[in-house]
């Protein structure tokens, strides 16, 4: 996994609440057995019309948001299905940071496993960024170590991410590799439990 220490990028806005993972990546694209190549299907039913042409009304299709790597969205982003294809699609499309007032649990978790940082800011701050992101070329800089978001023009905010996850992001660690260092503890736990019947 690519470490994420500091990131500066263009901001796109998606001013909708309860964006579910079925919208982020519709089910017809879940049949692949690879992790890559999902970006082309991101928000498919919103980005494209039924005939396959680009839907110019959809927020992310506005030319000013082309190349954006930071997404600002409404509350409860990523609700619904546990499909990790959702963060895979966001990442493959180019997003490394998602800012929202709240996230659904499974999606939030899945983001970290793929080097995407979901940032929770207050509703007022998100509203603020939604306004600012109307201006073409609006950029933010995120410092994962210091847990700050700034636009370099006076707008600054801080966020919090638990240390464990932050460390994984900063170092781009392989979580399974980390866990396997606890092999002895896992084996001991299994031995103890299986000697105690009934096992609960």
């Amino acid at each position: 996994m690519e470490p994420l220490v500091r990131h500066r990028g263009k901001v796109a806005r998606l001013n909708r609440v309860n964006v579910d993972t079925d919208q982020i990546i519709p089910k017809q694209f879940l049949k692949r057995v690879e992790r890559s190549g999902f970006g082309q299907f991101l928000f498919y039913d919103w980005r494209f019309r039924p005939d396959g042409s680009i839907n110019p009304e959809f927020e992310l299709n506005q030319p000013q948001y082309s190349g954006a790597s930071i997404l600002v969205a409404g509350a409860n982003f990523g609700c619904g299905s546990s499909r990790e294809h959702a963060p895979w699609a966001l990442l493959d499309y180019g997003f490394r940071i998602i800012i929202a007032p709240s996230f659904a649990d499974i999606f939030y978790n899945n983001c970290f496993k793929n080097g995407i940082l979901p940032i929770v800011l207050s509703q007022a701050e998100v509203d603020d960024l939604m306004e600012k992101a109307l201006a073409p070329g609006y950029e933010l800089e995120v410092d994962v170590e210091r847990q700050t978001v700034t636009d370099g023009h006076g707008w600054v905010s801080t966020f919090s991410v638990d240390e464990f996850r932050r460390n994984m992001l900063l170092k781009g660690l392989d979580e399974i590799g980390l866990t396997l260092q606890y092999e002895a503890a896992i084996a001991e736990y299994e031995r103890k439990r299986e000697s105690l019947q009934p096992v609960l």
Binding site: G74, S82, N110, F164, Y182, A185, Y189
Partner: protein, 480 residues
């Protein structure tokens, strides 16, 4: 299992007991390394996890605590005739992965095949006190047995395959106390939809919900599974019901359940899992079911829901601008006008199935409604049993004849039209009364309009060609 924490009698909730018994280690007050007792696997969210193992040269730590089946992609007319080559590849990939890593598989030719959340309980794999995970958000279903069960992503699937553990931050607890008496014809589906309609699609975020109170105590295991299945639609990763005699009676005799000779010892241990007197939750919600009607969703998330005698809401009644926009967008997608009575909404498709409502009891209730009646002209109605065993049981009871003679299609088991990954889809602009769990845009097909209802309400809609209060159709309810 005797507590390793001495004899201090700190009252604990059901969740706390299961959690504490599964913490392998918790370094520096960070997340806990939680042991997983049962890992269920299906074809859609696992291929990349197995590929990850291969790339790193890792193996599956406990194939004996892992169980796989195929459900999402499976065609329900002829499961062996997978016309979509990409779906077929996913199905064969799972079979190959199970063979390579030694994981038991209920494949397409197995009598145990079915929706992963139907077969886990059916086979006795799901038991009180276990931790259960699966790469599927509706894993919450298994909480009905007093198991801590939650959905995970594919990276976590790989992590569990390799280590049988997961790093987890301890969630908070929410007691959802169901009080009052359900009116006849008001099902578990209506209860959970009613709760979500009142509290929204994210009230449970960060919580494990334990259902308590007389309403849940009186529910069958099938009903409890429906209730826990949909907690994720309220944002909670897991739901729980304390194990009781209903639970034990369901579990006893199932293939992977403890043998009869030792079953009673297990029952004693399971009983002790229940929340102690005096234990507290981080949050408590009371919900009275007495005035609840059968529910119908009108929008594009499960909280956009109203009683069958209600009307489609008017966006102008919403103060919050973002919410108003969301309702406007939902009504536009759904092709509905504000103020329309729910019972004036005509439907074209009926789907009885999914991990929410495809168990034998669901089919019995639906069959009772359709018995000696006919599906309305122009309505396509499907029954998709949750598993091969459910199908077999229903056929033994003659339910398939009831459905077929009414004009329903009687299908093979799978996830089917709940998410339409297989050929069972709803065409754009058409309306479906569905017993599934999500009415998101495009869920049942691009442009498809999904209305979530109970099996009884779906059956009634099939007969009437529009939504009706099922209680008017059910003779057994008319006396009450």
């Amino acid at each position: 299992m005797p507590s390793s924490r001495g004899n201090t009698k700190m009252p604990k909730t059901l969740f706390e007991k299961i959690w504490d018994a599964h913490v392998v280690t918790q370094p520096d007050g960070g997340p806990a390394l939680l042991y997983i007792d049962l890992h269920l696997v299906h074809e859609v969210t696992s291929p990349q996890a197995f590929e990850g193992l291969r790339l790193t040269g890792r193996s599956v730590r406990r194939p004996d605590r892992t169980f796989a089946t195929m459900d999402h992609n499976v065609p329900t007319d002829n499961p062996f005739d997978v016309k979509d080559p990409i779906a077929a590849k996913q199905i064969t990939t799972l079979a190959e992965n199970c063979r390579e890593f030694g994981i038991p598989l209920a494949g397409l030719d197995s009598p145990d095949q079915g929706i992963v959340h139907v077969i886990g309980p059916e086979l006795g794999l799901t038991l009180p006190g276990k931790t259960v995970v699966c790469g599927d958000s509706h894993t919450s279903t298994h909480g009905a047995f007093g198991a801590l069960a939650f959905g995970i992503g594919t990276s976590e699937v790989e992590h569990v395959l390799a280590t049988q553990c997961l790093w987890q931050k301890r969630p908070q607890t929410l007691q959802l106390d169901l009080q009052g008496t359900r009116a006849p014809g008001v099902t578990a589906k209506d209860v959970i939809l009613g709760v979500i309609a009142q509290h929204g699609v994210s009230f449970g975020t960060g919580y494990v919900i334990e259902f308590t109170g007389p309403v849940v105590r009186a529910m069958s295991m099938e009903e409890r599974m429906t209730l826990c299945n949909m907690v994720i639609e309220g944002g909670a990763r897991a739901g729980l019901v304390g194990p009781d005699e209903t639970t034990f009676a369901y579990v006893r005799g199932r293939r992977y359940a403890p043998a009869d000779s030792e079953f009673d010892r297990y029952v004693e241990a399971w009983k002790a899992l229940n929340t102690d007197e005096g234990a507290t939750y981080d949050r408590v919600i009371q919900f009275d079911v007495s005035d609840l009607e059968p529910q119908v969703t009108w929008g594009t998330n499960p909280a956009m829901c109203v009683g069958v005698n209600g009307t489609v809401p008017d966006p102008s009644q919403y103060d919050n601008e973002v919410e108003r926009k969301a309702v406007e967008q939902a009504l536009q997608y759904m092709g509905l006008k504000p103020g329309t009575p729910i019972q004036d909404i005509e439907i074209h498709h009926v789907f009885i199935g999914s991990c929410t409502n495809s168990r034998i009891e669901d089919l019995r209730v639906a069959a009772e409604v359709v018995r000696d009646r006919k599906v309305a002209p122009g309505v396509r109605a499907l029954v998709v049993p949750g598993s091969k065993r459910v199908k077999e049981q229903a056929e033994a009871e003659g339910l398939h004849e009831v459905f077929k003679s009414a004009g329903f299609e009687w299908r093979e088991s799978g996830c089917s039209m709940c998410l339409a990954m297989n050929p069972d889809t709803v065409p754009a602009g058409e309306r479906c009364a569905s017993t599934s769990n999500r009415n998101f845009e495009g869920r049942q097909g691009r442009g498809a309009r999904t209305h979530l209802v109970s099996p009884a309400m779906a059956a009634a809609a099939a007969i009437a060609g529009r939504f009706v209060d099922v209680r008017k159709l059910m003779t057994s309810y008319q006396t009450s």
